[in-house]
């Protein structure tokens, strides 16, 4: 009985301690709601968000009928050939479709035509959705007009960005999951690492040491950056040896991309540490940041599945740029010069996050 009463005292004391950190309590409820809203919204998109540039060299009734069917499922944009190819090369579209001249005349006189599909195989899921719609359109156009199943529309596929026409889903998913786990590790290790200084009492000593705060923070982050880069490299190597994941043609581009990706995430983690002012707040804040960034950045599902507005918002997330740079190097086999602008953006992102984080971060007064 005596012990039971003591248990209740301990329970009351701990409950009061937890309730004292109002921000942590708020984060516990508000943050999961935000995450659920974001994740639910990311699933709100669909194939109608996929851009399909079409080069209509036919301008005839069959091309118009095909385009009409495509428009019901995809975001079709009629363009000239050069514009269409540029959209694919810049990764803004998964494929450009070329409807050849005289296609209508050939189709109506039962002669086959070849439709060209110039692709970016790195956008595998978008491409699959486009092909599914093409099959549907072909079936719609052909099933009754061509009663004995003669194939009148043939498709020739050619990659505009590399040698391969197709990547496995593993090749597309492994980088996404690797980025997610590295982000998770960095957010928590940086945030907990900095808050641990308070628990150990070393924060006070750091505050009076003859060294600039940015140098202390920079040194700590550099260690995390090295660990994060090693972790990401090992995960991608695992994918390479286990699932034949392509790592690209350029070792330099690969190394710089890993460093740029990890730098941006490590420096962003300082902002998380600054926002979460107690250990209790780190878990909800860190998890929410990780969930939101990984989901909108295309780490878990294709970018196009998100609504347009979210795709725009996602341009501000380093995960979006990280995934894009990794796909460029690994799947599109691009070199340093080609992926350079994205890497510069990621390094700049890291610098800005470091500056903001360093300005915001404060050790709690002991």
């Amino acid at each position: 009985m005596n012990n039971l009463r003591k248990l209740l005292w301990v329970f009351r004391k701990d409950l009061r301690l937890i309730a004292r950190d109002r921000a942590a309590l708020a984060f516990m409820v508000i943050v999961p709601i935000i995450v659920i809203l974001v994740v639910a919204e990311t699933q709100g998109g669909g194939s109608e968000n996929i851009l399909l540039p079409v080069v209509n060299e036919d301008q005839g009734p069959v091309a118009n009928a095909l385009i009409k069917v495509f428009r019901e499922h995809l975001d079709v944009k009629e363009v000239d050939r050069a514009t269409g190819e540029n959209l694919v090369r810049r990764s803004e579209a998964a494929a450009v479709m070329v409807l050849p001249g005289e296609m209508s005349k050939r189709y109506l006189t039962n002669r086959p035509s070849t439709i060209e599909l110039l692709t970016d195989p790195a956008q595998g899921r978008e491409l699959s959705a486009i092909k599914a719609v093409m099959l549907l359109a072909d079936r719609d156009a052909a099933s009754l007009g061509d009663p004995f199943h003669e194939e009148l529309l043939d498709m020739k596929e050619r990659s505009l960005v590399g040698d391969r026409l197709k990547f496995s889903s593993l090749e597309q998913n492994v980088p996404g999951f690797a980025v997610t786990f590295v982000l998770l590790s960095l957010v928590f290790s940086v945030a907990f690492g900095l808050r641990d200084e308070e628990a150990w009492g070393t924060s006070g000593r750091i505050a009076i040491a003859p060294v600039a705060p940015w140098a202390v923070l920079g040194g700590k982050l550099l260690a995390r950056l090295v660990m994060g880069a090693l972790q990401l490299t090992l995960l991608l190597l695992f994918g390479h040896f286990m699932y034949k994941l392509s790592l690209g043609h350029s070792v330099l581009a690969f190394t710089l991309t890993v460093l740029a990706v990890v730098s941006s995430m490590a420096c962003f983690s300082v902002i998380v540490a600054a926002v979460a002012r107690t250990r209790e707040q780190i878990i909800p804040v860190g998890l929410s940041a990780m969930f939101i960034l990984a989901s909108i950045g295309g780490c878990w599902w294709p970018f196009f599945e998100q609504p347009r507005w979210m795709q725009t918002v996602a341009q501000a997330a380093m995960t979006t740029w990280s995934m894009s740079a990794l796909h460029d190097v690994m799947l599109r086999q691009r070199g340093v010069l080609e992926v350079g602008p994205k890497l510069l953006f990621l390094f700049a992102y890291a610098a800005v996050c470091f500056a903001i984080g360093q300005r915001l971060f404060r050790y709690a007064e002991s």
Partner: protein
């Protein structure tokens, strides 16, 4: 019945039959049918309704029995009378759908009537379907049938639909029997076969 009533009845009958009576030439008759077809295609009705209206319209325009026999050519011998009757019924649906699907590709068809020429006991009616960028020639081989005309073949550009079916049927009947062909046609065009969807072009 008074003379006045008789006169009124005759006038009504004359008015009712006037369009057919005025379709004296193959070209006029074709124009009459195609303009009605154009009006149906231009409506905002769904695809299936358009198809049904067009099928009803073309019933008195396409001589699908003659086309079916022409398409079978020497293979007609493989068919029993009952099979032939069934084949011609199914072929009517097949031909109408093939022709109409081609027609329905044109969202707002503009027909141009070039002229008519007598050829080998038939009358050839030349028409075109004009699009902003292109022109598609469609030629009808017509024969008189009472007070109207029937198309015994349609040629789209250089493709005769009857000849095209002849080649396809020849290929199928060289490999399989009449019953096999009827089976596949029944599945696709017989009662209970899947109807086309509304969104099909």
């Amino acid at each position: 019945m008074t003379d006045m009533r008789r006169l009124l009845l005759l006038c009504s009958l004359w008015l009712a039959l006037a369009p057919a009576a005025f379709a004296a030439t193959a070209l006029d008759y074709t124009r009459n049918i195609l303009e009605k077809a154009r009006a149906i295609v231009n409506t905002d009705q769904d695809h299936n309704k358009k198809l049904a209206d067009l099928q009803a319209l073309l019933k008195d325009f396409l001589d699908t029995d003659q086309m079916g026999r022409d398409a079978l050519a020497d293979h007609a011998k493989q068919f029993s009378p009952a099979q032939m009757t069934e084949f011609l019924g199914l072929f009517r649906t097949l031909f109408q759908r093939t022709y109409l699907q081609k027609l329905l590709f044109f969202e707002k068809p503009v027909f141009d009537y070039v002229g008519e020429t007598p050829v080998d006991g038939f009358t050839r009616v030349d028409t075109t379907i004009d699009t902003p960028r292109d022109q598609f020639s469609v030629t009808y081989r017509m024969r008189p049938a009472g007070d109207h005309w029937l198309a015994t073949d349609i040629q789209v550009e250089d493709l005769s639909l009857t000849n095209n079916f002849r080649q396809q049927l020849d290929r199928l009947l060289s490999k399989g029997s009449a019953e096999t062909l009827l089976d596949s046609m029944r599945r696709k065009y017989g009662k209970g076969a899947a109807e086309p969807k509304d969104d099909e072009p």
